[in-house]
């Protein structure tokens, strides 16, 4: 979280065209303290507190971008994205293409999804947007990537959706370089090398995969973990390269399985090189229910145990 705020602050110091639109981003310092310090430093004209009007907020960001500014618009939680869907689907991704490649809309839409410290607003709709040409969709899993990818998103000349897994927001601590640096949008990252099974993990599922890998290593099963980082454009080359080595594939994300990004990851292997797979693939994600806000929630979400069991099944199901 601090890494994201740091990226925004650095960009706002560097470029007067960068400004911020969100709810409760002023005196309250943002949902989950997500804009802490920005209002004090930049004031109410550059940290704009908006009415509860997500469609107008996104539309205003798009128009401001079309006319020379570089706004970041925060939708407090991903559950509120549907309130702005017309702007997010019919406008943002279309503006450049439909104008014959002339319009530029450098907009970042920042939002929070998944399980978190307070348990509210857990729905993760990220896959919807990865479906749409014209969007770049990112979901960093580490503090360094959070800063680097936010910087890249702000500098991008088109619309970028920046998803923060809420369980990561105040989680793992890691040293982050102070200067501005970009983590390119697109390339996935090998978070752990291993010879037996590729686990493609998205955002908040990365720590689960890391935990599972530790447990499985004791059994002699070595996971290779690919931190996907970007849902669109998908790094098909990195996925395929890893699976060519391990010949086995598991996908894991906090969003639902059906129609999820995991399916697209699997397709990128079976379309290109189905012969490399020596075992059935397994997709892990939220149970097929609206993700509960109450104490039922952990039972609906993926955990490290799911990954451990899936890896054992994949190893056991390997063809001779």
């Amino acid at each position: 979280m601090e890494a994201v705020i740091e990226a925004i602050a650095v960009a706002m110091r560097e470029d007067p065209r960068v400004f911020y639109i969100g709810q409760d981003v002023g005196a309250m310092q943002g949902s989950m303290q997500g804009t802490k310090g920005l209002w004090e430093e930049f004031g109410p004209m550059r940290i704009r507190e908006a009415p509860i009007s997500e469609s107008a907020m996104v539309g205003a960001a798009l128009g401001a971008a079309l006319f020379g500014q570089r706004p970041i618009v925060e939708i407090s939680f991903g559950e509120f994205l549907p309130a702005a869907m017309n702007q997010l689907i019919n406008q943002a991704p279309n503006l450049h293409y439909m104008t014959g490649g002339t319009a530029r809309v450098p907009v970042v839409v920042r939002t929070r999804v998944g399980d978190g410290p307070y348990g509210g607003h857990p729905q993760d709709y990220s896959a919807w947007f990865a479906h749409v040409p014209g969007w770049k969709v990112v979901m960093p899993a580490t503090p360094v990537d959070a800063k680097g990818m936010m910087t890249a998103a702000i500098r991008d000349d088109g619309p970028v959706l920046f998803f923060e897994g809420m369980s990561l927001s105040h989680a793992a601590r890691a040293p982050v370089p102070l200067d501005a640096f970009e983590t390119p949008i697109g390339p996935a990252r090998i978070a752990r090398e291993g010879r037996d099974v590729t686990v493609v993990a998205v955002g908040s599922s990365l720590p689960l995969a890391v935990r599972a890998a530790g447990e499985l290593a004791a059994e002699g099963i070595e996971l290779e973990i690919l931190d996907l980082r970007t849902l669109r454009p998908l790094d098909r080359d990195a996925i395929l390269a890893s699976v060519r080595r391990t010949r086995r594939l598991i996908t894991v994300h906090e969003a639902w399985v059906a129609g999820g990004i995991g399916a697209e990851v699997v397709a990128s292997v079976v379309e290109e090189a189905p012969e490399v797979l020596v075992a059935p693939v397994i997709r892990i994600g939220a149970a097929a229910v609206p993700v509960p806000s109450g104490k039922v929630r952990p039972h609906a979400l993926p955990n490290a145990r799911h990954i451990v069991e899936a890896a054992r099944r994949v190893m056991a199901g390997t063809r001779a």
Binding site: A56, G59, A64, N90, Y97, T99, G100, G101, G158
Partner: protein
């Protein structure tokens, strides 16, 4: 070719008449050429009056009914706009979007989808950009009385009023949302809603271009001086169908009252004022007809847009 109204030496009144006449002529020809074109005949005073007193650096977002002449007033080429409507190469949109869009480099909010209401949001954003840059540029956004019932109307007027954004919202109220008469979906004038946002809300005779301009002047000045948005409801009348080939059977079930033709009204007024003779007006209409005819002739022979315009590399800059 240059539009006839760009000829040098025309008085302001004749120029306005010329734009309205050009719009009428263009509309007629496009309706004949494309059965799915949205006719604007009878709404020219509201259209032209809303946009004729802006600066080139201001932004505009024009209602889908009748925007082409508005784009031409800002310098867009008639042939390229007509190409969009006919599906020919040379259009600003490369044949990709709905045909009633205009070029963004002329500070035009483009139409990139067929949905209604989102353009209010993008237009509001243009005004936000101008406030951020500290300039006195403004935005004018027109939309229909049907669109006024989108949630975006409320969200954007409330946001623009809260932030005192330099924008003028103009409802081009023609009495119809496709087949439904306004009395069935508007329990009160759209302008009344302005009170809820504590901004000026003004109704005006949308078929009187002078009246529309007078009302706009106040709202434009207010926006330019940093005093925030206004809402204007220009009452006009849809003389034709929703689309060119619309059989309009519903009009027998929901009879409405025609309004006087704004072109005839304005022409008569120019003659009464001694600003123009009937011959001057005839000449302008003839020039408009000739310009539209020759443009259509030139565009018709162009190739249709096709795979070459697909532009797979133009999805994200």
């Amino acid at each position: 070719m240059l539009a006839p109204v760009e000829a040098k030496g025309l008085s302001e009144g004749l120029r306005l008449y010329g734009w309205m006449a050009l719009s009428r002529e263009l509309d007629e020809v496009l309706c004949a050429a494309n059965p799915r074109w949205f006719p604007s005949a009878g709404e020219e005073a509201a259209m032209v009056g809303a946009f004729c007193d802006l600066r080139p650096d201001d932004a505009i977002a024009a209602h889908y009914r009748g925007p082409l002449v508005i784009y031409m007033m800002r310098g867009a080429e008639m042939a390229r706009l007509v190409a969009q409507v006919l599906g020919k190469v040379g259009g600003y949109n490369k044949g990709r979007s709905v045909p009633f869009t205009g070029p963004v480099d002329l500070k035009i909010v483009p139409w990139v989808a067929g949905d209604l209401g989102t353009s209010l949001g993008v237009a509001t954003g243009a005004a936000l950009a101008f406030q951020q840059e500290g300039s006195d540029r403004i935005c004018v956004c027109t939309f229909g009385d049907g669109t006024a019932n989108r949630g975006d109307f409320h969200e954007n007027l409330n946001l623009a009023a809260s932030w005192r954004l330099p924008i003028v919202y103009v409802c081009q109220h023609n009495g119809w949302a496709i087949s439904q008469p306004a009395k069935d979906y508007l329990p009160a004038p759209v302008a009344n809603r302005a009170a809820g946002y504590a901004i000026p809300g003004l109704e005006v005779d949308g078929n009187d271009v002078d009246a529309v301009r007078r009302t706009m002047m106040g709202a434009i000045a207010r926006a330019r001086e940093g005093n925030g948005p206004s809402l204007i409801e220009a009452r006009t009348w849809r003389a034709k169908g929703h689309w060119a080939a619309d059989p309009q059977d519903y009009r027998a079930i929901h009879p409405d009252t025609p309004m006087a033709d704004p072109l005839v009204r304005y022409g008569d007024r120019l003659i009464q004022r001694g600003e123009a003779s009937a011959t001057d007006l005839d000449r302008l209409r003839d020039a408009a007809r000739a310009a539209v005819a020759s443009t259509l002739e030139a565009v018709r022979v162009l190739p249709d847009t096709g795979e070459a315009e697909l532009g797979l590399d133009e999805v994200h800059p």
